[in-house]
Amino acid sequence: MLTLLGLAGLIFLFYLSFFWVSTEIRQGIAQRIFYVHVPAAWTAFLAFGISALCSGVYLWLRDDRLDRAAMAAAEGGLVFATIMLTTGPLWGKIAWGTYWTWEPRLTLTLLLWFIYLGYFMVRSSTEDPEKGKRFAAVVAIVGALDIPFIHLSVIWFRSLHPEPVVVKPEGPSLPGDMLTTLFTGLAVFTVLFLGLFLFRYALEGLRAEADLRARRSAA
């Protein structure tokens, strides 16, 4: 546990220093949002992926640890998806001239956000925890299955209604230092997520133990 803390702390230093390096790069100021946006998006998808996977295996093996992992990952995914959803429009306003467009990836993340909101609402509104775990796992799995459909359909929808103002500057291959910054961002966000994810997971384990003891002492 402690090693992870150390790692998170260390990475955190990297985080700090590298972002200061990146601020020196002078090519389109707004483009710097990119370095939090893309890693956040990647982390959110990673987290939701872990969550869906753990949910699936949970229904199969019924190991409580898998359920805890799924929930911890889902919570992290929600945090990082929120970052992605808020930083995206901030960049979009400058690059595209509008805060929100139904850009496929943005739309997909928004819907994922709501699917996982449902995930937590289902969990918190069931009296029987075992039932809540199963329900939440079902939500996560159906959500994951629906993703390809959602993705295809929003792409199709966009091609039907092309946004007239949006000129998408899909930047050419990035210069080396930007690439370095981007990859650092990716690594830092991933490690930060994993570190916090493990804490969240441990928290859930402790909570289960506390519940168990409370039940035992009550009996």
């Binding site: 819907l111 449902g118 069931t126 329900f135 799995i141 929808f157």
Partner: protein, 226 residues
């Protein structure tokens, strides 16, 4: 296999008979459809928008909201008087129960969707004549996909303390593909475009409906087990 089908048939018959006698869900869905048509007619400023252009989207929205009204109560009655325990302890496998419930819901929602189409055609002066067969087919596919997801999550929502209020949060994000493909194809069919233009849409809609039914049948047993 024939046993499986007979089990499904028994539950479907029970559900439809129940509905035929009480008329609870059909009445509320049908009334909702007509009233939504009235309200939508007033919500459109005909000076700026041609009603025909937005009608397809409104048909689908009415279908989604009205469907939620009826499908959300799939397990309500049975959960209240404990009869669902009986259904579950019967020898019928859980996926048969799900398929039966879905089919019963499908029959009801499909009838309602045809009513919605008729009401909107009347109120908005739609000319669906030339592609009527395909519009009806598309509505059927859409209803099937909706009902499959709706039934699965109605079972989930009934098990929570929030009940049916939870259903939209769970189902709406998942319905995006259905609305996109459904509206896309209905829109063009009503406008009298040739079928070839929307064939891809209809295929995707069918794939979505099939996937929803399959996922529901596979996952339903985790929702209702005890």
């Amino acid at each position: 296999m024939s046993l499986y089908l007979r089990q499904i048939g028994a539950i479907v018959r029970k559900d439809l008979l129940l509905e035929l006698r009480s008329r609870e869900r059909m009445t509320s869905m049908a009334a909702f459809a007509v009233l939504a048509g009235v309200l939508f007619s007033f919500s459109i400023d005909t000076a700026t928008v041609r009603p025909q252009d937005v009608a397809a989207g409104l048909v689908w929205m009415t279908l989604v909201f009205g469907g939620l009204l009826g499908v959300g109560r799939t397990f309500h009655l049975e959960a209240q008087d404990g009869a669902f325990q009986g259904v579950l302890t019967s020898p019928a496998p859980k996926d048969a129960v799900f398929l039966a419930k879905t089919f019963a819901n499908f029959v009801m929602l499909y009838l309602v969707s045809l009513l919605v189409l008729a009401v909107f055609a009347l109120f908005f002066g739609l000319d669906v004549g030339q592609n009527l067969r395909w519009v009806v087919f598309v509505l059927g596919l859409g209803s099937l996909g909706f009902v499959a997801l709706g039934t699965l999550f109605a079972a989930v929502a009934t098990g929570t303390s929030m009940g049916e209020t939870l259903l939209p949060v769970l189902v709406f994000p998942l319905l995006v593909p259905m609305v996109v493909y459904g509206v896309g194809s209905t829109d063009r069919l009503i406008a009298g475009r040739p079928l070839a233009e929307v064939e891809g849409n209809i295929r995707m809609l069918g794939a979505f409906a099939l996937a929803a039914v399959a996922a529901g049948a596979a996952l339903f047993r985790f929702v209702v087990e005890d």
